[in-house]
């Protein structure tokens, strides 16, 4: 039998995961739907027509996905934080790869689809009500064509936010495996620290660089000079590597980290 992967074991594991966690999963979806309803219902009740523009709908979709997705991600391997459950989980005859695949399947694919469906229903209802009450003609966003909208946070095509969400999700999965206690809180702190670091990075660069400003990317810097500004540019591939790493590679890297963390997990 293959010591890394077998379809038979994978299907057994999917079956078992769903059987064991279906109630919690459905509760989580119901809670998320309820919270979305309360949240958007509150905006509806304060009579502000602008709060339902497509730009805001995109923001609600991703904020809800990020918050509930982070919680779901942290819950995926929560069995490992309870010794009797951890023993049962680790000694289940399947590989760490198969267990991580189940986590990805339910945490990313299934949860993402179910959340999107729940959001669509709540959002469509609220936007229709808003249009009815305020006389507006806001379009209901199509969450399967997010590339058609502009991301309200970073001013780029909204579908790129998925990559940021997937990175955040993968970070919380890794945190759930890395920290044996208060993992959600600790991972949130790590996320916060990384975010602050990202905000401070340009300021740190400025300490070491001459007077000037970045031009678009961190690889292009314009030095202010009385005799004429000078443009310092790093090779184009550096920017590509930087973009590819933080947009695409960080996600699989975090999942691979989770895989190795699970493989070497010992009971505490």
């Amino acid at each position: 039998m293959n010591k890394y992967f077998s379809w038979r074991r994978q299907f057994l594991l999917i079956d078992r995961f769903w059987f064991e966690n279906r109630k919690q999963f459905l509760y989580m979806v119901a809670t998320t739907t309820g919270l979305l309803t309360v949240w958007l219902g509150f905006y509806l009740s304060i009579w502000s027509a602008n709060l339902f523009s497509p730009k805001f709908q995109i923001a609600y979709y991703f904020l809800g996905l990020a918050a509930s997705g982070a919680l779901t991600a942290n819950f995926l391997f929560s069995d490992l934080r309870d010794k009797p459950k951890a023993i049962s989980f680790l000694l289940m005859p399947s590989t760490a790869l198969e267990k991580v695949i189940v986590g990805f399947l339910f945490g990313v694919v299934v949860y993402g689809l179910v959340y999107s469906a729940a959001f669509y229903v709540v959002n469509a209802t609220m936007v229709s009500l808003a249009n009815h009450f305020f006389g507006t003609k806001w379009e209901i966003i199509n969450i399967f064509r997010l590339g058609n909208y502009i991301d309200p946070f970073f001013d780029e095509p909204a579908n790129q936010l998925f990559l940021k969400y997937l990175a955040l999700h993968a970070l919380f999965v890794s945190g759930g495996l890395y920290f044996s206690k208060y993992s959600f809180f600790k991972t949130s702190l790590v996320f916060l620290a990384l975010w602050i670091l990202r905000l401070l990075l340009p300021a740190v660069y400025h300490l070491f660089l001459p007077l000037g400003n970045f031009r678009g990317a961190l690889t292009s810097f314009e030095v202010f000079d009385l005799n004429g500004n000078k443009l310092l540019e790093m090779p184009g591939w550096f920017n590509s590597v930087f973009t590819v790493f933080f947009s695409f590679l960080i996600i699989p890297i975090l999942w691979v980290f989770s895989y190795f963390k699970l493989r070497e997990k010992q009971i505490v």
Binding site: M1, K3, S6, R9, L12, D15, R16, F19, E20, D82, K83, P84, K85, I87, S88, L90, L91, M92, P93, S94, T95, A96, R263, Q266, I267
Partner: protein
């Protein structure tokens, strides 16, 4: 016969607290091993290392030809651990069979139901069962998986006297030449007439590891009113009617091993017992 578990020079510590300092152990198939020791001497830790739930800091552990730390699925299919604190989902017996039994290729539903009947477990959901009943379901499930190595950590905890007898019967029924059962317990009497090898742990070491047959052949356990005989014994403890003694077995018949007395003697004077057994 090929060994099932090989432990060589294993060192294990929780942080700075050392549990094992270079232990060696070979476990053969077709036997029931009883692991005894005071609280905190590493009985559970030994089982966790064998199952691959903990990894030694130094030395090696090989079980059924695998490194347990790899948690290879073929290895996991051939072992089962019943921990002292266990987890069983609150599902029906049928769901347990359908969603959990299929992970073990040798799982036998008929056998599972047979052991459930032996333990007098009703066929309903685990949600309504007591701790002891759940434990018996887990033991039945483990025995039905027909694994090569069954690790039981304090299996008699939470079981009443009748259930302990049922457990004894179930273990005897499931034994064959290819199966090994390792049972840790601090209730020495629970292992009497059940194990055929004894392992006693103390102070980071295995202080005794022998077969019951060898112990019974080399040592004699008896109650004697004779003071002179008591003074010559390896171990004596006053009881009604004289002293309970461990002496050299001079006779040709195998003595009945009194595990409790052997345990006390080993904890009091391990060198003397080792000396007598090595002779």
């Amino acid at each position: 016969m090929k060994g099932m578990v090989f432990i060589k020079d294993m060192h294990f510590a929780y942080g700075s607290t050392s549990v094992f300092e270079g232990i060696d152990l070979t476990v053969m198939p077709g036997s029931v091993y009883g692991i005894l020791g005071r609280n905190g001497t590493g009985k559970s830790t030994l089982l966790y290392n064998i199952a691959g739930l903990l990894n030694p800091q130094f030395g090696s552990v090989e079980v059924l030809g695998f490194n347990p730390a790899d948690r290879n699925p073929d290895f996991l299919q051939r072992i089962f651990m019943i921990p002292e604190e266990f987890y069983l989902p609150d599902v029906s017996i049928n769901s347990l069979i359908r969603h959990y039994g299929r992970f073990y290729v040798q799982f036998n539903e008929e056998r599972f139901r047979h052991f459930l009947a032996l333990f007098e477990i009703p066929d309903h959901t685990l949600l309504k069962m007591s701790y002891g009943q759940k434990k018996k379901v887990l033991i039945s499930f483990a025995l039905a998986c027909q694994v090569s190595l069954l690790l039981m950590d304090e299996p008699t905890n939470g079981l009443d006297i009748i259930s302990k007898n049922q457990l004894r019967r179930a273990i005897v029924e499931s034994l064959d030449d290819n199966t090994t059962i390792m049972i840790s317990s601090h209730q020495v009497q629970d292992l009497s007439n059940l194990v055929d090898h004894i392992i006693i742990l103390d102070n980071t070491r295995i202080v005794l590891h022998r077969s019951i047959e060898e112990i019974g052949r080399k040592l004699a356990f008896k109650i004697s009113p004779d003071l002179e005989e008591a003074n010559a014994a390896f171990f004596k403890e006053p009881v009604i009617g004289g002293n309970i003694l461990i002496t050299v077995n001079d006779g040709e018949t195998e003595s009945n091993v009194d595990l409790e007395t052997l345990y006390k003697a080993t904890m009091t004077n391990p060198e003397a017992i080792q000396y007598a057994l090595n002779d």
